[in-house]
């Protein structure tokens, strides 16, 4: 079908492998995402904490630099599980903002413009569509979370030596699992909200609300009933517990409460975090609900019964 010929001709060339086609969606989506200078600037800003992290790791192993700064190694933050957990959580917060900026229009603009039949009339399944759309966020968030964190872990291992690497290998898995669970959750929730709400601003508000309102509600339960069960309804608290569990900093008992009753007896209530398995179960439940909604909404045409 050359331009000068202007006739209809079938395509007889090679085809791309089917498994790779879901990656077409993020490749084309990034052209739109990075058109916004404001977003690009924010995305660059996301790498600043990583740079600080790298500098801290470097300083720990560079006597000359410490000498110039007139600082002792002991005065620096130790490079341990808490160090990596802090930066993983910090990057997680940046990832949340990126998801808030990129996530809302991800499916909604296709629904608004009836684009789904155009995708699904091709050798491209609904699952590939969902995975493709999800990978827009997953790839983007990976570049600011677990990939650089893992590289920094390798940098620390390189500078500290093989023994440190072998002893702390579990930290690498904590970094990867903690970050991947968080960005998967963000991508899934963003996509689900995007499939339900067609307007970008409302969708952004809904995503924000999904994270904030249950947190407030959970805290309310905690305060009124003197418990920590409320943390199970807060996505933030769930992720905090899971992250602590992965980095080995999880503490079951987070405080005690003394209550004096009218007859003068004093009762001590121990505030216990919900067990880790319950946090994982709730998280799994959220993912199942999101997938069920996506399976209902991502269709070429709604069937009017």
């Amino acid at each position: 079908m050359a331009v000068y010929e202007q006739t209809y001709k079938r395509y007889a060339g090679p085809l791309t492998p089917e498994w790779s086609r879901f990656l077409i969606i993020p490749r084309h989506a990034y052209r739109g995402v990075f058109k916004s200078k404001l977003f690009t600037a924010f995305f660059v800003l996301c790498f600043v904490p990583l740079l600080i992290e790298a500098i801290l790791i470097y300083l720990h192993h560079n006597v000359n630099a410490l000498g110039i700064m007139k600082t002792q190694v002991q005065e620096l933050i130790p490079i341990d599980a808490t160090f990596f957990q802090f930066f993983v959580n910090l990057q997680g917060a940046f990832a949340f903002v990126v998801a808030l900026l990129v996530g809302p229009p991800i499916v909604s603009q296709d629904l608004r413009n009836n684009a789904l039949p155009l995708y699904l009339c091709r050798p491209f399944s609904r699952t590939e569509y969902v995975v493709g759309k999800m990978s827009v966020l997953l790839i983007l968030l990976s570049t600011i979370t677990w990939i650089p964190q893992l590289l920094l872990f390798l940098l620390q291992s390189y500078l500290e030596g093989f023994t440190w690497f072998r002893t702390n290998l579990w930290l690498a898995s904590a970094i990867v699992i903690g970050s991947v669970v968080w960005i998967l959750l963000l991508a899934l929730i963003s996509q689900t909200v995007s499939a339900l709400v067609k307007w970008r601003v409302v969708a952004s508000g809904a995503i924000l609300g999904l994270f904030l309102i249950p947190s407030v509600f959970g805290e309310f339960i905690n305060v009124v009933f003197l418990t920590r069960v409320g943390n199970l309804v807060s996505i933030g608290a769930l992720m905090k517990n899971i992250s602590s569990g992965l980095f080995g900093t999880f503490v079951q008992t987070t405080g005690t409460f003394r209550i004096e009753s009218f007859d003068g007896t004093v009762r001590e209530i121990i505030l216990s975090e919900p067990p880790l398995w319950s946090s994982w179960t709730v998280l799994f439940g959220i993912c199942v609900v999101c997938l069920a909604i996506l399976s209902r909404k991502v269709k070429a045409y709604e069937v009017v019964k």
Binding site: V3, R10, Y11, R31, N113, N114, L118, C121, V303, K305
Partner: protein, 327 residues
């Protein structure tokens, strides 16, 4: 109630069987909730360009969507080029192009970006998709506007962009759902011309769903008329026009009672369509000359005599009046 399988097969038995079936309907039924939409459709469609006709709610769009795998059949199935629509949906989608009825595009994209993306999703490598996107847009007449955002396109341009995305990967079968919807006359003519060109290229079969009989008449060689989810007519348009469907429209003066009686004795079917107006179907062996002789004998003046071939409108209206299979 679904038309019996044998009766539906009867409808298509006269069609030439030289080409393999493009679409084979094997008792295809689709139900939305408790509402049956398609009722046991049977038959194999072989035309180069098949017109899909029917009143609103007859099931035209549902048939296309089911063939594309958007809806699950509640009973029966269908095959496209021998591939089952349920089990081999992906293979089928690699062979077909689809131009939806409603506005459909991806926001914030230029036409060339949009068509390229659609090409890539069909399996074309990025370079080939880009090249063919340019070609397809030139082909449909959007060459000069291909870098403009789709949101800025007029309705006619959007229709052409939809056609471009449907043909970018060079499909073997093209589903066009109301392609001339909302187009002004010049744009409609352009669209019809493109569809005919694709048909005449011999590279793709076309299924054209339309309310506009003229569009179907101009583009299609076969028609499938649906009525209440069943096949009312499936025929080759040209064959149908030729075969014993030559009408004579007569306008007479004088007492035509004896003249009409004489026509009946000749064995011709006739219908009195108004005062001094007759519609006659000429039977084999009866010539126009015989009518003149009859008129002279019965002292009836023939003021006007014209041929009227059975138009698609006649076929359609008869299908709607007579019910399933009636022609």
């Amino acid at each position: 109630m679904a038309l019996p399988a044998t009766a539906q097969q009867e409808l298509i038995k006269d069609l030439p069987l030289t080409d393999p079936a493009v679409i084979d309907l094997l008792g295809l039924s689709v139900t939305f909730g408790a509402r049956p939409i398609l009722k046991g459709l049977r038959g194999d469609l072989r035309g180069k360009a098949i017109g899909l006709l029917g009143p609103n709610g007859a099931g035209k769009t549902t048939l296309i969507h089911t063939l594309l795998g958007f809806y699950e059949p509640s009973a029966g199935t269908a095959q496209i080029f021998g591939h089952d629509i349920v089990d081999q949906a992906k293979q089928i989608r690699a062979l077909v192009g689809y131009m939806p009825e409603r506005d459909a595009f991806i926001a914030k994209m230029s036409a060339v970006h949009f068509v390229r993306l659609m090409g890539e999703l069909s399996g074309l490598p990025p370079e080939a998709a880009l090249e063919r996107a340019h070609e397809a847009l030139f082909y449909v007449g959007l060459g000069e506007a291909r870098y403009r955002k789709l949101e800025t396109y007029s309705l006619g341009m959007k229709q052409l962009a939809k056609l471009a995305q449907a043909i970018v990967h060079g499909p073997k079968l093209l589903f066009l759902d109301e392609p001339t919807n909302g187009l002004d006359p010049p744009a409609r003519l352009r669209m019809i011309k493109l569809i005919r060109e694709i048909r005449d290229s011999g590279e793709a079969h076309i299924v054209l769903s339309s309310h506009l009989l003229l569009d179907v008449e101009e583009c299609c060689d076969e028609i499938l008329i649906l009525r209440e989810g069943q096949i009312a007519v499936y025929c080759n348009l040209e064959e149908e026009r030729k075969s014993n469907r030559k009408f004579l429209m007569l306008e007479t003066r004088g007492d035509q009672t004896k003249f009409v009686q004489a026509i009946k004795e000749l064995g011709c079917e006739y219908a009195i369509t108004g005062d001094h107006r007759l519609k006659i179907v000429l039977q084999g062996g009866v010539e126009v000359r015989d009518l003149y002789q009859l008129a002279a004998r019965e002292r009836v003046q023939l003021r006007r005599l014209s041929y009227k071939r059975d138009s698609l409108e006649d076929i359609f209206l008869k299908a709607m009046e007579n019910g399933y299979g009636g022609l």
